[in-house]
Amino acid sequence: MSDHQVELQTRRTPGRFARAWDSDLAYSFRRTPVAVVSAAVVLILVLSAVFAPLVAPYDPFDPASLNLMNGFTPPGQPNALTGETFFLGTDDQGRDVFSTILYGMRISLFVGFSAVLLAMVIGVVFGLLAGYVGGWVDSFIMRIADIQLTFPAILVAMLIFGIAKGITPPEYRDQMAIWVLILAIGLSDWVQFARVVRGATLVERSRDYVLAARLVGQRPFAIMIRHILPNVLNPVLVIATISLALAIIAEATLSFLGVGAPPTRPSLGTLIRIGQGFMFSGEWWILLFPAATLLALALAINLLGDWLRDALNPRLR
């Protein structure tokens, strides 16, 4: 299922790739221009983020290389004091906006992917257990979900932030914020995975093949992994894609509320938070470029998720 991106590989290779190319999903993908464009945008953005050190002209995370006097240079124009020119201008600290966006996107994507992975693992495990085992286990897990829903992500973030500050050695605190974000967003996101998986499991559990598997004496664990899990993967994949976009935006929102990536190692969200302060002052590039990047990234992922949802639901074709 997840190798739908592999179709970019050569067609002559027999076996798996050919089968992937010919699969329904790949066919639907090729027939949907929006999906192709979105995938291309995501791919370009992800690659330029991953290879940021090679692509970016400057390293914005190296404080010694910054010159404050370069601050607020408009895009493509030389700075009035230093005479240096920057493709997309510089921000309030004299950082090259283009490089900062690439490095920032790296953090945003890392936070997004990790948070969704975390939420998915927790959600799927809890959902399977709740749906399959039922009884007090189900009640227990669903009540935990209730508690989780009660806490706004910002509070979860602040709590984890506080605890993390107590236990991380000072030299690692700079990077700590990123792990806190992952935990906070991941923890506030698992519930929807759990609910969907639980619902699907409840339905699958009473199907004949599961009853049969149980009759031949298969262990519950094996039944869950081998029979039920593959059948709930489709909705999980759809939720994961949409959650990725949401997680990247949630990161930006937390940053606005003051619990985000530190300004010395900014994510896209931190850049937007900093940039929105310059909305009235004429330095539009500090806000516009990071915001446009975030929009492009989140929109492309959302569109992919949309397509995936329709494509994986055979009744909607």
């Binding site: 085992v133 009884g135 009640s139 706004p152 506080g162 605890i163 930006a252 929109l299 949309d306």
Partner: protein
């Protein structure tokens, strides 16, 4: 049935207790209220005295027990920041949030259902696809940025709508409303759009999906075969069956609208409970934070409880607790 209800209510109470416990354990990490409560000239003795008076020198378990003891009697204490009873402050602020949530919820529901039907019926049309894509633009930007952009365009550039606050409100004694004045209604527009946009997209997509599924059902095909007009089919048969899950989801979303109002209220200086909560965090106003979290928990737990009980009443297949499970 009765046993199930009793058990379910007991669980809900437990959830509330645990929520409070977790909340209290985190307060010490939010900061120290004493620093905010005393001026620059305070001595160490003042700090110690105030900490002791507020009970902050005690372990959080003790603080929590105290809070619970008072909360049971309906007393949430005095706000550290305002020096007034927390229950007064909450009841003063709640109308603002509820009105904002109601308006944005209705807007999301009306807009979401309308656009959802349209995009489902004209599934392959250009208009529907444009709407589907545009709706994603709205959810691909953080709420705070949308709010600030709206302020920039409609308040600063065009000067049509106010940039902050609730406008003129009418005091009905137990409730303050912005519905009765022009300025109050104008003030609602931008925050309601900001807050409702995400929910509207969600509902629109849900309605579209459900409609598409229903439209494929046999009875709709029969209706078509019987020669009923498209319009009648779409609205009388398909929509009716779509609405049940939509209403359920919207109900569940109501709680999250109120929780998400925090950001909208901060951007628009909307005097609701969300802004109150953000202020409380900045000031480490523990009684207000605790009461707000308790209020939100009660709301979520109540909504969940009602939904579960409804499901239980409607659909016997979901009575999972009666079975022994898979072992």
């Amino acid at each position: 049935m009765l046993a199930y209800i009793i058990r379910r209510v007991a669980q809900s109470v437990l959830v509330l207790l645990i929520t409070g416990f977790v909340a209290f354990s985190m307060f010490s990490y939010v900061g120290d209220p004493v620093e905010n409560m005393l001026g620059q000239e305070r001595t160490q003795a003042d700090v110690d005295r105030l900490r002791e008076q507020l009970g902050l020198d005690q372990p959080f378990v003790v603080q929590y027990a105290k809070f619970l003891g008072q909360a049971v009697q309906g007393n949430f204490g005095l706000s550290y920041r305002q020096g007034r009873p927390v229950s007064d402050i909450l009841s003063e602020r709640l109308p603002a949030t509820l009105e904002l949530a109601a308006v944005s919820g209705l807007m999301a529901l009306a807009g979401g259902i309308g656009l959802g039907i349209f995009t489902a019926i004209r599934r392959r049309g250009v208009g529907a696809n444009v709407i589907m894509t545009l709706s994603l633009v709205g959810v691909s930007l953080p709420t705070f940025l949308i709010g600030i952009l709206l302020i920039y365009v409609f308040a600063v550039q065009l000067g049509w709508l106010p940039s902050f606050g609730r406008g003129e409100v009418t005091d009905l004694g137990w409730w303050t409303t912005g519905f009765l004045t022009v300025s109050g209604l104008k003030a609602l527009v931008l925050p309601a759009i900001t807050l409702g946009l995400y929910q509207m997209t969600l509902i629109m997509r849900l309605v579209r999906t459900e409609m598409l599924e229903v439209l494929r059902m046999d009875y709709i095909r029969f209706a078509r075969a019987r020669g009923l007009r498209e319009r009648a089919i779409n609205f009388r048969h398909a929509l009716k069956n779509t609405l049940v899950p939509v209403i359920t989801i919207t109900g569940l979303q109501l709680g999250s609208i109120i929780a998400f109002a925090i950001i909208t209220e901060t951007v628009f200086q909307w005097p609701g409970v969300g802004l109150l909560f953000i202020n409380a965090i900045q000031f480490v106003d523990i009684p207000v934070m605790a009461a707000y979290l308790m209020m939100i928990s009660v709301m979520f737990v109540a909504i969940n409880l009602v939904v579960d009980l409804l499901y239980f009443a409607i659909d016997p297949r979901l009575r999972v607790d009666g079975r022994s499970g898979g072992h």
